[in-house]
Chain length 235, copies 2
Amino acid sequence: MSKKLHTPKCATCGSKHKSVFCSLNSVQLTDIDSDKSCDFYKKGDTIFREGSNSRGIFCVNKGKIKLSRMGPSGKEQIVRFATSGDIIGYNSMLSKRPLSATAKALDDSAVCFIPARNFFEMLRKEPNFSLKILELTAKNWENASRLITDMAQKTTKQRLAEMLLWLKETFGLDEDNCIDVKLSREEIANMVGTATEAVIRLLGELKKDKLIALEGKRIKLLDIHGLVVLADLVD
Amino acid sequence: MSKKLHTPKCATCGSKHKSVFCSLNSVQLTDIDSDKSCDFYKKGDTIFREGSNSRGIFCVNKGKIKLSRMGPSGKEQIVRFATSGDIIGYNSMLSKRPLSATAKALDDSAVCFIPARNFFEMLRKEPNFSLKILELTAKNWENASRLITDMAQKTTKQRLAEMLLWLKETFGLDEDNCIDVKLSREEIANMVGTATEAVIRLLGELKKDKLIALEGKRIKLLDIHGLVVLADLVD
DNA sequence: TGCAAAGTATGATATTTGTCATACCTGCTG
DNA sequence: CAGCAGGTATGACAAATATCATACTTTGCA
């Protein structure tokens, strides 16, 4: 399942500057460190599960995490991703509700755990930290409300294009312009909100339209602007 | 458009106890009051518009507000409602982005305005207030991610049933068990994410199934449990 | 190395939903 | 009070997408 790791220090964490902890000083980072632990998760491992109660927040040290919810008919819906420097599991701490999503490792990952007490203490003591988290939750809502609109109004093909661009933003491109994450067609379908077969067919169409190229699970973006136009994301 | 009103005091506001301001003491409420103003909006009036920059937050004193986004093809998507005691317009303050939704009055409404400065001051000075807002934004995200899942996976009829239940939660029922808000079929369609004709047909089906009754715009809920089951919301 | 299992691909078909045309109400305004 | 406009309703049709069946391909593991 998961294996304890030598716990990295926040102060020397490569992702510090791009995380919500960036505004904290070294004393405060030591406070966070004091009760922190770090676990290793193999690809496919579950970090936490929808419906259970969280006892703290998680911060991704290394790896790729998907956050998903179970739909009524048992179908998975991917609602968010997290990678180095991102925190997860904080929403249910703040809303005082059970966890609303399940977190699974897409790759071998290292994830730190910070107990609720330390998290809330920091929120109370540090207005700047509090504002950072507020900024994060507010952005989450804005992204989600855009996604609601897109789910409701765009065609499957448009949503697929949009999801590819989202994956690019989240995980970046490798040296070959391929999206730097490996997802099954089924997982892509669970982002787009459609059937696996539809994704396969539509990826084929995007390929025929010379917007992407496919080599197994690797998806190469050939025409990003074309995808933006297709997804109707032009501002 | 909107008419200045005699500004009500937070301390004597009937919605204080159920609002995010419930944890503030009388001195703090006076702080909020100091630069507050209140405007009257007629049914259909716009309170703020997607894309513009907000200069403060709004708190609904009386009335019913819908928050919606424009989809790519110009179709409205209703993403939230607000009523007495609810605050709106705070997300874009916190995310430091332009407003992500448009707010329009569904009824004649009175809405207070609190400048950004006072809002942020309170956030900085009052950890309890900060935590209340965090709770709010976290809940928003959770609701939104459920909605994403539903949009992606449920049938139009299920979503319609779910929206009716959502309207019931938000606006309540009158003495006749009718949902206490008047929306056009088009507006309902803009919540459900479908065409107006589909809503008309499906409302007809729900009526035939004896789950609801219709008298013009008034929708009477005959079998709430039946709607819950249909919407697949059973826990 | 080769087999089983999982994942990917493709076709045929059924269903759902969107779109367009049209007609009918209902409430408002001149 | 007539008539017009906006909203509601219904049918016919087209398009998109889900579902089912089947075959092919890759991957992991014994």
